[in-house]
């Protein structure tokens, strides 16, 4: 799934979009998706991800560039002929129809015979465990049930591509997590291609084959979740995905897979060079809180250590968060698993911390 297949199923080719002729909402978007992939567009609001989805669905036209579906340009095909299923943020279930009528709608407008229709509606409802609710109106359903019906309606006419626009945004946390797995399993079972838009990074990491991180109208990084989290390509991605500690400095020495960075406050740390190539460059080093170590026996031999002062200890149940002052920053966080015999650091204590050079990434300065 990592590299795009020879013949992409969905393709954005140098797509640009402007609403007012003055600013570009989407800048030079290039994206290729193989068949069967679950791709998530992740980004803050206003980053252009929803616009991309709307262009793919046909509700917005690209100002420049070409969008191809299965090798054919679809710029001039109206939405109803694209055969793309779509799940909307507010579900958009037709309030004047029953659940079964909602599901029958796409089959009906395609002129399917009535007998086939009923069987397929029943199958689709059973697929989302809503078989008993066919006669209800959307207003009589709970949020999670509506979500399932919307999903079933987008799938009932067997589209090969399904778009989802923040479909779980209105659900509470527990239900959202449950639905994430259900959607993921449906995707695997049906082999459909899914483009999923969200601003929730956990959702993106949990569900996707690949995640495209959007910011400022561009894809900042397009990678599988683990790569995105562990090897962010720039400071925006590092900051947007997961928690991270940032330390500013300049490159003191550089090798192929190791850079020595002198922080503004004078300390020296090790890092992996990502966006830096030469000595003297400004850089921002990013370290995940759970990769910071304070027990000397776990330190990487030969790695630099740095002094830290504990400011606050927060008990979080499954883990401990320790906020400390490092190199003049008050918001450096270390996260340790709550395991038997784990040490609780009391505020005021000074100690040495360190990390594996692979886990500290020297990125572009913000």
């Amino acid at each position: 799934m990592n590299a795009p297949a020879a013949k992409p199923f969905v393709e954005f080719d140098r797509v640009q979009k402007s609403y007012d002729g003055e600013t570009l909402v989407v800048k030079d978007l290039n994206l290729q998706m193989p068949k069967g992939e679950f791709l998530t567009m992740l980004g803050p609001s206003g980053s252009g991800k929803t616009t991309c989805l709307m262009m793919l669905a046909g509700f917005e036209t690209a100002t420049h560039g070409e969008i191809k579906l299965d090798g054919k340009p679809i710029n001039n095909i109206p939405p109803h002929k694209r055969g793309i299923g779509m799940v909307f943020q507010n579900y958009a279930l037709f309030p004047h129809m029953t659940v079964a009528e909602n599901l029958a709608f796409p089959l009906d407008v395609r002129g399917e015979p009535k007998s086939d229709r009923e069987a397929r509606v029943r199958m689709a409802l059973d697929m989302v465990q809503m078989g008993a609710f066919g006669a209800r109106r959307p207003a009589q359903l709970s949020g999670g049930q509506r979500q399932r019906v919307a999903l079933a309606r987008a799938l009932v006419f067997e589209p090969e591509l399904v778009l989802m626009d923040e479909p779980l945004g209105a659900l509470d946390k527990q239900l959202r997590e449950h639905m994430q797995f259900e959607i993921k399993h449906l995707h695997e079972r049906l082999g459909i291609t899914v483009v999923y838009v969200t601003h929730d990074q956990t959702e993106a990491l949990t569900m996707s084959d690949r995640v495209a991180v959007f910011n400022d109208g561009r894809i900042q990084q397009l990678a599988p979740p683990d790569e995105l989290y562990e090897r962010p390509q720039n400071s925006f991605v590092a900051g947007f995905i997961g928690e991270n500690n940032r330390l500013e400095g300049t490159v003191e020495a550089i090798e192929a897979d190791k850079a020595v960075v002198r922080l503004k406050s004078g300390e020296i740390i090790d890092a992996t060079p990502v966006n830096v190539t030469q000595v003297g460059q400004d850089t921002l080093v990013s370290i995940r809180p759970e990769r910071v170590e304070f027990k000397p026996e776990y330190f990487d031999p030969g790695a630099h250590t740095i002094e830290a002062e504990v400011l606050e200890f927060i008990y979080m149940g499954d883990s401990f968060r320790t906020r400390m002052r490092v190199a003049g920053h008050d918001d450096f966080v270390m996260k340790c698993r709550n395991m038997l015999g784990q040490q609780r650091l009391e505020p005021g204590r000074k100690l040495q911390i360190s990390w594996h050079p692979q886990d500290a990434r020297a990125l572009d300065p913000m």
Partner: protein, 438 residues
């Protein structure tokens, strides 16, 4: 642990299973007492409105309904000076009660008539009596006043004496009219409002072809109102949709344009249609100038049904646009998008997804415009000519010109009944709680 829960619970269950407050009073009573003060205060706030509605709406409607069955002109006379009510035509009414409708009036009947006429003349009530019978048999007012002058000096046999005074008294129609007028309350005005009358034998029959106007006018009123409602819907729907979908700064301006007619006097708007549509008016001039029609064939667009339709459609348009707008505004564009993505053409998406969601607005706007149109008076009076008159113009005629208030009240009551019937139908078909006015 159990104790803590029991102490914390604000309510407990009494032995009979009803909820009580912590100190053992019934919960329902406590709630009613707690809310009583607020309810009282809320009631005092609506008292002025309640009184206003009773005085200006319910009382007049009640008066109208009682007026429509009031038949007292032949029955009693109210003395203006003393305020006493004096019964009229007592003997004649007694004769009508004793004899079947259609009985040939005998000497006793004529004697009673002579006595009644003399008495009525004596107390100056003869004009009222004559007017009442004149409603039903036209041209009889002078018959009553003329004969009553001689009635005092009449000698038996009264039949000859009265027929001597005027041969017309032999007309059975007059006797039928007097019989129908001889009861204090009657539904005969409703018969008249439906172009029906009673023949000499008391059977309900249609009135003569040339006098039958009311059913025709009711029909015309309802057909024209339906047509005007349809026109406002056709014209108003796209405007309302535009208003609901435009960005706010543009839609505000458009909304002002829609509301502009409300800020102009009804009379000004109506007369400006006269200026525009008359045969030497702006529209005709433009058509002649552009060569669409020649000068000799200027179109007659005002003082007829066309004028009524155009002017009323314009005036009632906002009443259609506003309810539609209030229904369309909250319809999320994602519904139509969803329909499109599910494979519907834009027309199918409109017809099967958007339109059904605007039904409450169409219903509210339609009902509002239709009911306003059914009772519209000024515009048809000014631009309707004779073919564009509606039933309300005839009601006004009976109120102001013919002074047959009972008939006017009967016509108005029928109109009210028709509108209530419409409400009922709407409630059955669409549901009144589906109505959305704003």
């Amino acid at each position: 642990m159990t104790d803590a829960v029991a102490a914390a619970a604000p309510t407990t269950r009494a032995t009979d299973g009803r909820l009580t407050t912590a100190d053992g009073k019934p919960l329902k009573a406590a709630l009613a007492r707690a809310q009583a003060r607020n309810k009282r205060r809320a009631f005092f706030l609506v008292v002025p409105l309640l009184l206003f509605v009773v005085v200006t709406f319910l009382v007049p409607i009640g008066q109208m309904l009682s007026m429509s069955v009031n038949n007292s002109a032949f029955y009693s006379w109210k003395d203006r000076d003393t305020g006493d009510t004096i019964p009229l035509m007592v003997d004649l009414r007694g004769w009508f009660n004793e004899n079947e409708p259609g009985t040939e009036p005998d000497e006793a009947a004529y004697a009673a008539l002579a006595a009644g006429l003399a008495h009525a003349r004596d107390i100056k009530a003869i004009g009222q009596i004559g007017t009442r019978i004149n409603y039903e048999v036209s041209g009889t007012r002078s018959l009553f006043t003329g004969t009553s002058r001689k009635a005092e000096r009449m000698e038996p046999p009264y039949k000859e004496a009265i027929l001597d005074a005027d041969e017309e008294w032999a007309d059975p129609e007059i006797w039928a009219a007097m019989r129908s007028a001889s009861k204090a309350f009657t539904l005969d005005f409703y018969l008249a409002a439906l172009d029906r009358t009673r023949d000499a034998d008391g059977n309900i029959v249609k009135v003569d072809e040339e006098r039958a106007v009311y059913i025709l006018l009711f029909q015309r009123t309802f057909v024209l109102s339906a047509l005007i409602t349809l026109m406002t819907l056709i014209l108003g729907f796209p405007i309302a949709h535009l208003l609901a979908t435009l960005p706010l700064r543009h839609s505000n301006l458009l909304m002002i344009l829609v509301l502009l007619p409300f800020w102009t006097s009804l009379l000004v708007r109506t007369t400006s249609w006269i200026v525009l549509l008359q045969s030497q008016g702006v529209v005709n001039d433009l058509w002649v100038a552009s060569g669409l029609i020649d000068d000799g064939n200027r179109l007659q667009m005002i003082y007829n049904r066309t004028g009524t339709i155009i002017a009323m459609t314009h005036i009632l348009l906002p009443f259609m646009v506003l309810p539609l707008y209030s229904v369309m505004r909250p319809i999320d564009p994602s519904y139509v998008r969803a329909a499109r993505s599910l494979g519907a053409t834009s027309w199918t998406a409109f017809r099967r997804v958007y339109l059904p969601q605007t039904v409450p607005g169409i219903g509210a706007g339609g009902l509002l415009v239709f009911i306003l149109a059914v009772g519209y008076y000024i515009t048809p009076a000014l631009v309707g000519g004779s073919s564009g008159q509606l039933i309300s113009n005839l009601i006004a005629f009976h109120m102001q010109k013919s002074l047959n208030w009972s008939l006017a009240a009967a016509l108005a009551s029928l109109l009210l009944g028709a509108v209530l019937l419409l409400y009922w139908l709407y409630d059955r078909l669409v549901g009144i709680d589906n109505l959305k006015l704003g």
